[in-house]
């Protein structure tokens, strides 16, 4: 989960590609104040660059839909982009726990890796993690898509109700444990599948969907084959006479 970032290089790079950006220093600003400013600025500008996030929590919470791109220059702490209602957020570093928690729409791109539970309970929108996702990535997600260029940790997709997780670098233990209707596409080694998770054949519509996604988000097709993990459905209904099934999973 190592990623190296350099503020200066990134800064120079950003100023070239977005000369019109508004710059904001997070240093000394309360998270609430910073988020209020982001809400306002994002309605009037095409790019907002936030300096010195210093891995602080609750940055970019509850932002609304706009054509603006919000860039955090450095790592962010817990719950970055939570309750996102349509904003485009780019994190030039790592993200802490609960990235994009309960987001409804919009897009969050993380150039580094994420800690636990990225996209927890998300309902829509897209999260793209260019490094590794931590354990429980996409836990209890109810919609939206998560793309991870690296690996994800244990119990990713746990209790996912809906939505899609695409992982290109393998997964830890108990992948897709107790899922409902979510789908996981994974390339690379999987340590183990979780309770009720089952591997299914990819059909042509899956392939078509993934091809479009990869093209849209600039992801390269993995060398290893992609597997599709879904819920077998044995946990969907409870019947007291099926105690044996419950004990077996």
């Amino acid at each position: 989960m190592f990623t190296v970032h350099d503020d200066t290089l990134m800064g120079a790079h950003l100023s070239e590609i977005m000369p019109d950006a508004v710059h904001l220093d997070a240093e000394g600003l309360e998270a609430r104040e910073l988020n209020n400013q982001l809400r306002k600025l994002s309605q009037f500008h095409s790019h907002v660059v936030v300096h010195n996030p210093r891995a602080r929590h609750n940055l970019g919470i509850g932002l609304e839909s706009s054509s603006c791109e919000i860039h955090f220059l450095g790592s962010v702490g817990y719950y970055c982009g939570g309750f996102n209602a349509g904003a485009n957020i780019v994190v030039h570093g790592n993200a802490g726990w609960g990235l994009g928690e309960a987001m409804a729409s919009g897009r969050i791109v993380v150039k580094g890796s994420t800690a636990w539970a990225a996209g927890a309970g998300m309902r829509g929108g897209v999260i793209i993690i260019e490094g590794d996702g931590g354990p429980r990535t996409g836990i209890a997600m109810k919609g939206g898509d998560i793309f991870v260029a690296g690996s994800v940790g244990f119990m990713s997709g746990f209790m996912a109700h809906r939505g899609k997780i695409v992982v290109l670098g393998g997964a830890g233990d108990a992948l897709g444990a107790s899922m409902y209707e979510g789908r996981i596409f994974v390339a690379g080694a999987v340590a183990s599948l979780g309770a009720d998770a089952i591997e299914r054949e990819l059909d042509e519509s899956d392939m078509e969907e993934l091809r479009k996604d990869f093209e849209r988000f600039g992801l390269s097709w993995p060398q290893e084959p992609i597997r599709k993990i879904e819920a077998e459905g044995r946990l969907w209904y409870f019947d007291k006479h099926e105690g044996r099934i419950w004990r077996s999973i």
Binding site: M1, F2, T3, V4, H5, D6, D7, R54, A55, R56, H57, G74, S75, G77, Y78, G93, N94, G96, W97, A115, W116, G134, P135, G153, F154
Partner: protein
């Protein structure tokens, strides 16, 4: 919840200041009490540093006389005048003693604690545990932690979840009576009473009923039996049940072990030879200006970072 951190410097330096700055960024994780385990720079043969608290209602001069009497009775002697500090929020008088003593540490501990109302927080050739109620800033200012020079150390802000807010129940814990072993712990053990029962049968003693103290004593016992720190940490993952991400410091290293789910996070980084670890990444960013290369410790894993070799005052220091 709790927030903990640890630092290993390249040589000797303002370890107390670093720990205070880092811990201050995690006040929201536990504002009840704060503690520091600091490893000073100058060990002297047969000399033991004792940190203790005297209950508030006691006459401290009388208590110190009683302690000196008991220490003399076990062939020990005070090297210098005892230092006294009044705690934050009337939490009592805090005592630092330098004792010349070559017997068993357990004997010295018993001699000191046989005086009523005296609670020994740490004993070691280099270890000094300073803990009190209040935030990192309050405790560090009150007890002069910011001026402390040393090679490595731990700090902990506590959110009391399973017992009351109390100085003795706050972290770090010393692995009594083993010199120089200290722990900070985030989590709770579920097989505490079983472990305590087994360890009591082996005549191990505890000051409190706190599960974190038990882990410290457990590891110290393993070390005293000749296991390496790494071996002891691995064994603890098998023997302990519950939630834990703990940092254990000795005179020569800081070790870490996590339970198989690692629900309590710990972020580690290294900057120019200084190794730093903290529950939250922002606590590290508080100390280092540059963007950091950080890593979360993995579930069910151990790590050991060696501390700098100790130099006597005036000598140059090289990292281990």
């Amino acid at each position: 919840m709790c927030g903990q951190c640890g630092f290993i410097l390249k040589g000797s330096g303002l370890i107390g200041q670093l720990l205070t700055a880092s811990e201050s960024a995690m006040v929201h994780r536990g504002p009840d009490s704060t503690g520091f385990a600091l490893y000073g720079e100058e060990p002297v043969e047969d000399r033991i540093v004792v940190r203790a608290r005297l209950a508030q209602e006691l006459n401290s001069n009388q208590v110190i006389q009683d302690i000196e009497h008991n220490v003399t009775a076990v062939q020990g002697s005070f090297v210098s005048e005892p230092q006294m500090t009044n705690g934050v929020k009337n939490s009592g008088t805090f005592l630092r003693l330098l004792v010349d003593f070559s017997g068993s540490p357990a004997l010295l501990l018993e001699a000191i604690e046989s005086v009523d109302g005296v609670y020994v927080h740490s004993m070691g050739r280099r270890l000094e545990i300073i803990k009190d109620v209040g935030t990192a800033e309050e405790v560090a200012t009150c007890h002069g932690v910011v001026d402390f020079i040393g090679t490595h150390g731990l700090a902990h802000s506590r959110l009391a979840t399973e017992s009351t807010v109390d100085v003795e129940l706050s972290h770090p814990f010393w692995a009594r009576p083993y010199l120089d072993v200290a722990i900070v712990h985030n989590g709770q053990l579920t097989n505490y009473y079983k472990m305590r029962h087994l360890m009591s049968q082996r005549k191990l003693k505890f000051l409190t009923g706190n599960d974190s103290e038990l882990i410290a004593v457990y590891i110290a016992e393993q070390l005293s039996e000749g296991r390496t720190l790494r071996e002891a940490l691995w064994k603890s993952i098998a023997d302990l049940d519950g939630v834990f991400t703990y940092l254990l410091a000795t005179e020569t290293a800081i070790g870490c072990a996590t339970d198989p789910l690692a629900i309590k996070p710990l972020v580690v980084t290294e900057v120019d030879g200084t190794v730093a670890m903290a529950t939250e990444e922002q606590a590290l960013r508080q100390v280092f200006d540059a963007e950091l290369v950080t890593e979360y410790v993995r579930e069910g894993s151990v790590a050991v970072w060696p501390a700098a070799t100790v130099a006597k005052r005036g000598e140059s220091v090289h990292s281990a």
